[in-house]
Symmetry: C2
Subunit: 311 residues, 2 copies
């Protein structure tokens, strides 16, 4: 059984690939919930939704988030009422937030709601939140500490990134399925999706025992680099690395994941970095990793799965 | 200054008429909030919304509720997710509930939120909730006690009506503007809109000191009958009266309001009931009261206002 750790879009794309090369019973995708927030009384889980919409073929690939063909009738009416519209809520997307909020209010866990929503949209593979407890990512910047969505959406990642604070991480536990997968006798490999290692993956690894368990793994751990040719494929990763004084290269990704992974899949354009990465004791597997279409998603997924099987 | 007590649709129609014959400074409409409820995590105030949509020209007169030209994209997506869809939420209507919920969560009172929403939709006259405290109407029926929306929407008023329970009424106070209007030196008249006397008006009068204050009024109090020719103009009133062993006539409306009103405006079709009503010490004013269009709304409103001025 493959355990994949994922954030939003990058994670979602590899998850789709993994879902087409691995049986439903053979895959567990764990999704970051540090980006979750409450808005207009709604409980919103952006990464869980990006993965759900992508795996169910509903994701708006043009816009980069939300549901394809969504409308903004409610949002426009909300604007007329003087409501907050900085977070773009589509009419179809709203249904997901309403249903999640309603179920959470009635006492369901985020794991339960997530299973219900994914099943309703026909996703067969198992996708779970990293935790059923509340963890909130705060981004420390040159303009002060910002709640994640504040940094990401309102400020469009412009403020200088200084670090993260994961509110609630001390008391949060991995979700039941995630905790079970980490200890599962049939666990055959761990895959770090090409999501932002700081914003998306670090909250997952910061959960109780996760980092330690992965460092003491008995299976192969493979990461797909979120950096291609000195820039992040999507999002603020490249900018953040530079702001942290790190060159935005797959070598730094390897250094960041040292001890957590055995293999880093890097892009052809970064083939020259292979020796430097392998000097860190991490095998660098070179291939085209830009997952611009289903074919590429499947190719990268298959390579990642195969690499977990090589001794 | 005219103080009008209103429920949903019937109250909304007279409120529109009153708004066109009385200056904004000369009218305060108090709306029932006993029908308010929480659904999918949203705070919904059906009567406040019916009055708001009607006064701002947005009400869907064909459907009888909600916003004209609304769509159900979110509701249909919610159905796909297995969500509760018994309460029909339009995409535009949703914006109102989201904004109300969001503002209430941030600590605003229902009076404050209501003022903001009405102002945003361009309503100049003052419309306030009956209370900022939580009052919930429960309908006692032959199938047990039902929350109001459960009785009204889910069960379509089919169960036999035995009585009401107003949860929270003991500790609820009239909203600040309502309380102020009752004691205002410039209060010139009270108008009971043609809303359901039991479901819509009784929660307002059951609030602390309201019934007593109206009984000891120094101004004229006028009601417009919600019954025409032995049936309610809209809603379950006629059926409810019969189930309570009362003939569905304006005479019973007069009897119900005895001590609270000086005049009852009844329809031409019920002219024959005039003597019986006046035997109860209530003047019966006969005119066409079906408010099928703006002209009729204005005519009934003008008559009601004039009657508060006659000694």
């Amino acid at each position: 059984m493959i355990l994949a750790l994922a954030g939003g879009v990058g994670g979602a794309r590899l998850a789709v690939g993994l879902a087409s090369v691995v049986e439903p019973s053979g895959l567990t995708v764990v999704v970051n919930t540090g980006d979750d927030f409450e808005h207009l009384g709604l409980s919103i889980s952006p990464d869980l939704d990006s993965v759900m919409y992508t795996m169910s073929g509903r994701h708006d690939n043009v816009q980069g988030w939300g549901v394809a063909g969504d409308s903004r009738r409610c949002l426009n009416a909300l604007a007329e009422l003087g409501g907050e519209t900085w977070f773009q809520l589509g009419d179809l997307d709203l249904a997901t937030h309403l249903q999640r909020t309603s179920r959470l209010r009635s006492g369901a866990t985020l794991s339960e709601v997530t299973a219900e929503l994914y099943a309703a949209l026909g996703v067969k593979h198992r996708v779970v939140p990293m935790s059923d407890h509340r963890v909130r990512t705060y981004v420390q910047t040159d303009v002060g500490e910002l709640a994640f969505q504040d940094y990401f959406v309102r400020h469009r990642c412009v403020p200088k990134f200084n670090g993260l604070r994961l509110d609630g991480i001390q008391t949060a536990c991995p979700s039941p399925v995630f905790a079970g997968a980490l200890k599962a006798p049939d666990l055959s490999g761990i895959i770090f999706c090409p999501s932002n290692p700081w914003l998306s993956i670090s909250p997952i690894c910061a959960l109780r025992d996760v980092d330690t368990t992965i460092r003491h793994r008995k299976v192969k751990s493979v990461a797909v680099s979120p950096i291609i040719g000195g820039a992040s494929v999507k999002g603020p990763l490249g900018k953040m690395m530079v702001e942290r004084g790190l060159p935005a290269t797959s070598v730094e990704i390897a250094r960041h994941y040292q001890g957590l992974i055995d293999v880093l899949i890097i892009d052809e354009r970064d083939a020259a970095l292979q020796p430097e990465i392998e000097d860190l004791g991490i095998k660098a597997h070179v291939m085209p990793i830009l997952m611009s279409n289903a074919e590429r998603q499947i190719a990268v997924a298959r390579a990642a799965v195969d690499l977990t099987r090589q001794s």
